[in-house]
């Protein structure tokens, strides 16, 4: 079995049988989810087709501006997703901090990964730049969502303890230390867990894709190891920047808890 088996549009359409199966199940059980299942399947298909054409174009005409533009769009979309998720719970400075943390954290890791680890030439080669940026940004986004949720929850449920700590002469930083540490810990835990299961419980998508596309498993694995470490770094860096700057927005200039 050498070479790559190309999937025709017809073959892909056959995979839609799975969707019909799920639709049948929810209809039979009277679970009201048909619309979402249909919409998400169709959306996924259209989005990927669109991305496919964009990638074809990018790979044919590699261009630093285009690569940079695409990565910026990814960042913007990730930030938008986070802000949208927490909608009315975020004060304005915290929104800026989220945008700064996500951009700085992922771009720093991306630069190190591509320029020092992979040694990409030219630096903007879209085949590498775009998928790796996607993985770092996507995972950081999940981490930030988790960390932010725990920060907001902690500052609400443990408000009395934070206030008591301030009364006892703690700096805002010391008063929120437990909440920050707990949020950071929880945010990087999924990444750590996925490394533990890696290769045993599941083969990650990127590696599977590369192997399916005919790359030697050892090369695919080397990339996978490096990218997992890169993801860990990006998640950790993004989340810690967000927390270290973000906790302060819960306090005012006089080191009192803001009422919000």
């Amino acid at each position: 079995m050498n070479g790559i088996i190309d999937l025709t549009a017809w073959q892909v359409a056959l995979a839609y049988l799975f969707v019909l199966l799920v639709l049948a199940i929810v209809r039979m059980r009277g679970i009201n989810r048909e619309k979402e299942i249909l919409i998400s399947s169709v959306r996924m298909t259209l989005q990927l087709i669109l991305v496919g054409y964009i990638l074809v174009y990018l790979f044919d005409y590699p261009n630093p501006w285009l690569t940079a533009g695409i990565v910026l769009c990814m960042e913007a979309f990730a930030v938008y997703t986070v802000l949208n998720r927490f909608n009315d719970q975020l004060v304005k400075p915290l929104k800026y901090i989220i945008a700064i943390a996500m951009s700085a954290g992922t771009l720093a890791c991306l630069a190190y990964f591509l320029l020092v680890v992979v040694r990409l030439t030219p630096w903007y080669a879209p085949q590498y730049f775009i998928p790796i940026a996607g993985m770092l940004i996507g995972n950081s986004m999940t981490g930030v969502v988790l960390g932010l949720k725990l920060l907001l929850d902690g500052m609400t449920t443990q408000k009395a303890l934070v206030e008591e700590a301030l009364i006892l002469g703690a700096t805002p930083r010391a008063a929120s230390r437990n909440i920050i540490n707990n949020a950071f810990d929880s945010a990087i835990l999924p990444t750590i867990n996925s490394m533990i299961g890696m290769g045993v419980v599941f083969l990650p998508g990127m590696m599977t894709g590369q192997i399916l596309a005919g790359i030697a498993p050892i090369t695919a694995i080397a990339y996978q190891i490096a990218i997992m470490l890169g993801i860990l770094g990006a998640v950790a860096l993004t989340v810690i920047i967000m927390l270290q700057l973000g906790y302060r927005t819960f306090f005012n200039q006089e080191d009192q808890l803001c009422s919000r």
């Binding site: 009395a160 206030e163 301030l166 009364i167 006892l168 002469g169 703690a170 700096t171 009192q256």
Partner: protein, 217 residues
């Protein structure tokens, strides 16, 4: 030591002029909701006046760093939050949060004695009653050794005997160490028995200020 000049806090407090004297014991009395807790919180900058200013040792409080100020002017809140862990950890939490060196068990046991807590230092705090928790919270600010004590109804959860012992201890300690004490109390009797100055608050205003002249030292 503290001087209120034209101080307002929202619609709650309106104090055109009021002062708290250094190395004296001042008690605040008044109906619940009259604004006593709000006044204490303004004294240690947990709240800032929405109008007017408070002078502390000749300096406008706005120009003093809040955290540094709270370390000098320690407050026991009305419903103090107790942290997870055992008695020792809770007594030391203030010093720990201030990133100070932690004393040995001798000092901690000394404070236990002062607040009349007779339990092993390793007992988890959930084994304590409401009154014991209140004394634990008092103990943890005694360990901070501040210049000024602000106590918000420190004996609310105590029975009469313990209340008497704790009041004797606190006022004795403050006088011996030449500290300043401002205390909110629900009991007029306590206010007059222990204080140099009694201030009665009605609807956020100073309704009456009485000096206890029999006391001299």
């Amino acid at each position: 030591m503290f001087e209120f000049i034209d101080v307002k806090f929202k619609e709650i407090i309106d104090l055109p002029a009021l002062c708290f004297e250094r190395k004296k014991i001042t008690t605040l009395i008044g109906a619940s909701g009259s604004g006593k807790t709000t006044i204490l919180k303004m004294l240690n900058k947990m709240l800032s006046p929405t109008h007017g200013r408070i002078i502390y040792n000749h300096t406008d409080l706005r120009r003093i760093n809040s955290v540094a100020h709270r370390r000098q002017v320690a407050m026991l809140s009305q419903n103090p939050a107790i942290f997870e862990g055992n008695i020792r950890e809770n007594l030391l939490i203030g010093l720990k949060l201030q990133e100070k060196d932690l004393p040995g068990d001798d000092a901690v046991l000394g404070v236990m004695e002062q607040v009349k807590l007779n339990k092993p230092l390793d007992s988890p705090v959930y084994t304590l009653s409401g009154g014991e928790k209140q004394r634990l919270a008092l103990g943890r600010i005694l360990l901070l050794n501040p210049e000024v004590y602000l106590l918000d109804e420190p004996s609310a959860a105590l029975d009469e005997n313990t209340e008497e012992m704790i009041m004797q201890m606190v006022t004795g300690h403050v006088r011996k160490k030449n500290k300043t004490l401002v205390m909110v109390t629900h009991s007029k009797a306590i206010a007059e028995q222990y204080a140099d100055t009694v201030i009665e608050i009605v609807s956020g205003r100073c309704f009456r200020r009485g000096e206890n002249n029999e006391r001299d030292h």
